[in-house]
Assembly symmetry: C3
Homo-oligomer: 336 residues x 3
């Protein structure tokens, strides 16, 4: 749906500098954009591409306006304005067309007539699916599951029995929700599996990335609150609670019974121990290990970024002697 | 199956203090339990909930008895007793009901008549499946695979050709067993794929979590011994051997040809290099990297837990100069 | 296909020492090989098995010849010669036999008549599949996807709409290509999903391991160049470019818009930040975190390998005080 720049300025809440009737039909990068396309500048890495862009318009901050060779939409947050314009230009409509065949549905299901179910889907008994939800090929929905309205289950997803999903949820391929948690008791050095009788509650507007897994609760429920965004290959243990509007980047793992606050930003490949609590508004940078509760908002980090292998090897040797070395130095200093 | 407290005391090997005819029909947490429910106290995080619990009984140690407001089952290991009671109260019976349809089975298969196969399952040629095994929707079993008795293959699992599973194995959704290992030889800076001709042998009572992957052997077999428990999103490389009753937490990766001993406990997001050996009874804490063999039992750790970003940044700078700094300090001390 | 040692020497470019008419019909390890089998020695871990091997021939370097009790094939690169011989002895032919049934195909598809499609596959509209490609059970191919010639899609793979795969590509079970990237803009502390309108281009001879995920581009495309080899459970973010003949080991994650050069070797469980650039011919060892661009070829490392927990605890305490401690020491030294 092509639009004029004036329309895009209005819907994105930006200030237009240039031709208000300029027609825009696509977004593109500063480097690759052509006539009829709009671009944006929000990351310093790409500033050098602004000067020579062939885009018909660029979303940017007041500061960058001087270097803009074309029409501009000015805002303090170009990325947000870009998001709104992209949502307008690309209404999501490409997953309604797969043929419906080979579908197996159990008994006592309440599936709204507006639901689109694709081929090779398996649905158990007593399943409820709300209006306009899309269930893609290869999905498995076990008994007693509830899925809300306007959800997208892209493909090859497994929803285990007795879990409950809200509205406007997007699940990417390979997602598993409601698998058994890692609940084991030890007896004579062997493991006894503990029945996992809790559920998973996923609230509205949650998005979960490809091949991510969320375990069902051991006794009470695992809970993913409203607006939480989870990237690919994230693992959420049993009885975890993730507070609303928290975002979790790829490859992160959260162990059982941990509570993550609201509006947190968890970087990629972070590991969070079990039975701890992270308050609201915490940022944890990529690859950090968190083994104790975090009690104040703020930015937290860990890990040692790469150096040349030769230097790293030497530093590692020192790290392994660190306590010993520092004691020795302190002693020597005190004795002098 | 509701039981009296006396029956539960007996099957869990605990000492009953209170009414032996008290009826118990469910487990619950100290905080949420109501009449007719039993709870337990095994983690210090939850001690404060004991005093006001509404549970009809609590499993706990002698030490906590004084603060217990209700009937008690006393034991040195409340978590184990809880496990036994939960197993009794919740016999696993919820995965026999999915309609059987759209099933494709190859030639020369020996599938016991007691096997329950769900919809949209694909089974190749020469496949053997033992009695009372459940094969959930979307599972793929390639040629020449053997699956034992009383296994649960929940959903969307892939068993590649020529692998062998024992009895009482539980595989959660998205598990892949027998994929090719990462076997590559370099020629003129390009990669040549090496045929992966080994198999995977999974012994009895193994449980493997959602979306975990186990590669087939390059030449000999990858082996997962009896009673091993593997959490979600774990990656096991080709020719790895995992010794019996070892437990591996989520997001851990073990590179090719490594041998992990018996009764080890590997934490979450641990990385273990290839071609090394870890002896029996080793504990490795979460997020540790293991690049050399571990030759004695014990607890091993690595990694730097999070600190505030501001402090971390300064320490990182120092770490990168560590060898240099310490040399400088030592020199100065020696010269004084 | 059994061969004489002479034939194997010729095809592997090695020098034969021993009986040229010795018949070889299998490969095996030094430890397990029997008559009629060939083995190899390329890793020092296994040198001790050479002396007593029962193999009919061993591939090794000139240096190890003196300890070889049987026929030998001599080369500077035994692993490469082994690869060539294994490829010859085990031509890949075991995935053509699954019954073709329950297949659902959309409209306007161009699927070559030589393509083998297995049971429970779902194919959308406008899909093109080249000659001799194998599509295993449970695979989902959404609309407008192109798959080239001689590809192997083993099982339960999801190819999202509008992506493009070249020739001779191998995808292992559970692979997801073209899922939405983690593109979010923040407004009033909530997340707005940004349409992901780019594609994924996977070039010829790429292999991708079980349960790995590759996101589609946000605007432009995610690109995996010729000959790239990706292990299991790897996550590649939107707009990443991976240069030709680069190998990426298991559990590694690469965040969005990062460019990885040609012929790089990325170890297991490495984390690479977004929007950075790694030049050609870089080696990154396992479990390293890379948060800045790498501008020169070479070997890079990070992380702290495991030590005994008791020692680690002490060193961690020191690390957390590192900057402070070193300042204190420096001060004291300067004041003396």
């Amino acid at each position: 749906m092509p639009s004029t720049l004036e329309e895009l300025a209005k819907l994105s809440g930006t200030k237009l500098v240039g031709k208000s009737d300029c027609k825009i039909n696509a977004v593109n990068t500063l480097k690759s954009a052509n006539e009829g396309e709009i671009s944006f500048l929000s990351n310093r890495h790409y500033t050098s591409f602004l000067k020579n862009t062939r885009a018909s318009a660029v979303i940017l901050t007041e500061n960058d306006l001087a270097n803009c060779p074309t029409n501009a939409l000015i805002t303090d947050n170009p990325y947000l304005a870009y998001a709104k314009i992209a949502i307008h230009l690309y209404p999501d409509n490409n997953r309604k067309s797969l043929r419906q065949d080979n579908i197996v549905t159990g008994e006592n299901c309440k599936i709204d007539s507006s639901v689109s179910i694709s081929a090779n889907v398996t649905i158990g008994n007593n399943v409820t699916v709300g209006s306009n939800t899309y269930i893609g090929p290869g999905c498995v929905i076990e008994d007693n599951v509830t899925v809300g309205n306007n959800c997208l289950l892209i493909a090859n997803i497994t929803l285990c029995h007795d879990i409950k999903l809200g509205d406007e949820i997007i699940l990417h391929p390979g997602v598993v929700i409601g698998s058994d948690g890692f609940g084991l008791a030890q007896e004579n050095k062997q493991w006894l599996k503990i029945p996992q009788i809790g559920s998973v509650i996923v609230s509205d507007k949650v998005e979960i990335g490809a091949n991510s897994t969320i375990d069902r609760g051991a006794i009470e429920d695992t809970i993913i609150e409203t607006g939480v965004k989870i990237d690919n290959q994230v693992q959420i243990g049993h009885n975890v609670i993730v507070g609303e509007h928290t975002a979790i980047a790829g490859c992160t793992g959260i162990a059982g019974s941990t509570i993550v606050g609201k509006r947190c930003m968890i970087g990629g490949a972070v590991g969070i121990s079990g039975h701890i609590e992270i308050v609201d508004d915490v940022v944890i940078t990529a690859m950090s290990g968190v083994s104790n509760s975090i009690k104040s908002p703020g930015v937290y980090s860990a890990g040692i970024p790469v150096t040349e292998n030769k230097i790293w090897r030497r530093n590692i040797v020192r790290f392994r002697q660190l306590d010993e070395l520092i004691k020795k130095i302190m002693n020597k200093l005190d004795n002098d």
